[in-house]
Symmetry: C2
Subunit: 218 residues, 2 copies
């Protein structure tokens, strides 16, 4: 019985990591679609999001079945409940990648971003891609030291998000209302993406150490 449960918990961890790899691929492709105005790439991200949603549903059902059949307590119970929450965050990160891709698709054949804000969003894209990569690694290895790097990239995303407002509001360039809307929404999507990465990192840290970390999570 215990062996079966251990195997189930391992499978749960592997599925979360697999889901996270899909999110990684989604945010990376979405960012490239946005920066390069690549329609096919944007459409792939949008079409593939249902796979992430499907894994979430399946994973959630298995968590509930595990709770019912194995009646875990203590740390085992915490692992299953945490898996439920992590899958919800990953699903949301997939949605946000899809939203980024949708903006790229809507503006095609134009690029959504005026060229002078491209460097800012290239940084956001790279930070978000690193967050997603490290979330996968944290889920695979439970190496809590990586959590700090996720928090750092999230801080960077917050700063870049603030910079998007400075650009649209205080900069010298004048954008069309459509560009202001797109920059505002894209900045928000990236900022939220970072928040969910932090939330997942908090949960893994809590699982491994039993402590709330200095960032006040989970």
């Amino acid at each position: 019985m215990r062996d079966i449960f251990t195997a189930e918990l391992t499978a749960l961890g592997e599925d979360l990591a697999a889901m996270s790899r899909l999110v990684e691929s989604a945010i990376s492709s979405a960012g490239r679609a946005l920066l390069e105005g690549d329609l096919a790439l944007a459409e792939n991200v949008i079409a593939d999001d249902h796979t992430i949603d499907a894994i979430e549903r399946e994973l959630d059902e298995r968590c509930v079945a595990l709770l019912a059949q194995q009646q875990p307590v203590a740390r085992d119970l915490r692992i299953v409940v945490t898996a439920l929450r992590i899958s919800a965050s990953l699903e949301r990160m997939g949605d946000l990648a899809r939203h980024v891709a949708a903006v790229a698709r809507l503006r095609y054949p134009e690029k959504a971003l005026p060229s002078d804000v491209e460097p800012l969003f290239r940084q956001m894209h790279e930070s978000a891609a690193r967050v997603a990569e490290r979330v996968t690694t944290v889920l695979e290895t439970r190496d809590v030291h990586l959590a700090e790097e996720i928090y750092r990239d999230d801080d960077l995303l917050d700063q870049l998000h603030a910079a998007t407002f400075q650009t649209t509001l205080g900069g010298e360039a004048v954008y069309t209302p459509q560009q202001v809307v797109d920059i505002t929404l894209l900045g928000r999507y990236y900022e939220r993406f970072g928040d969910h990465g932090v939330s997942i990192a908090h949960r893994v840290v809590y699982l491994v150490t039993g402590d709330l970390d200095e960032h006040g999570g989970p």
Copy 2:
């Protein structure tokens, strides 16, 4: 043992309803703060959000304790897991109300919204307030017919959200970049608020009927 568990489940339901009443009050005050440029009201919403967050944390801990101590199965298990998810949505709705209030506070003593988009946001405010009210009632009564009304108001919020884009992009009025940013973000906050209301309604419907409803939830 069973009596204790039933009492615990009842208490859980009451706490969700109490949390929902706070969300109701938050979104209602936030909208009034926004539409009337009322600084004190905005500050109250922002200051009170931590109460919603605290209830979420406490409720989540109790759910996990219930799972560990009572080892519920079948419908009881589903109730506890659903409570975990509903509290996460309510917490997020509280955050979104706080974001609306924060825009109102930032623009004070000006009003954030240009007068010609006020009617649009008054409708969003009213729809969101109705969603929040009905979420409370659904949680209190488990009357699944109310779910339909929540879906209807969410559809309305989606339409109003689309209308905010038409206003900023296609309308005759010309707004400052700050106004475009504020309208874009506020529209997004209200739209997400509706989504969370729908998600809660789906979960209650699923709990009561065991069926996924026509909206594809939960």
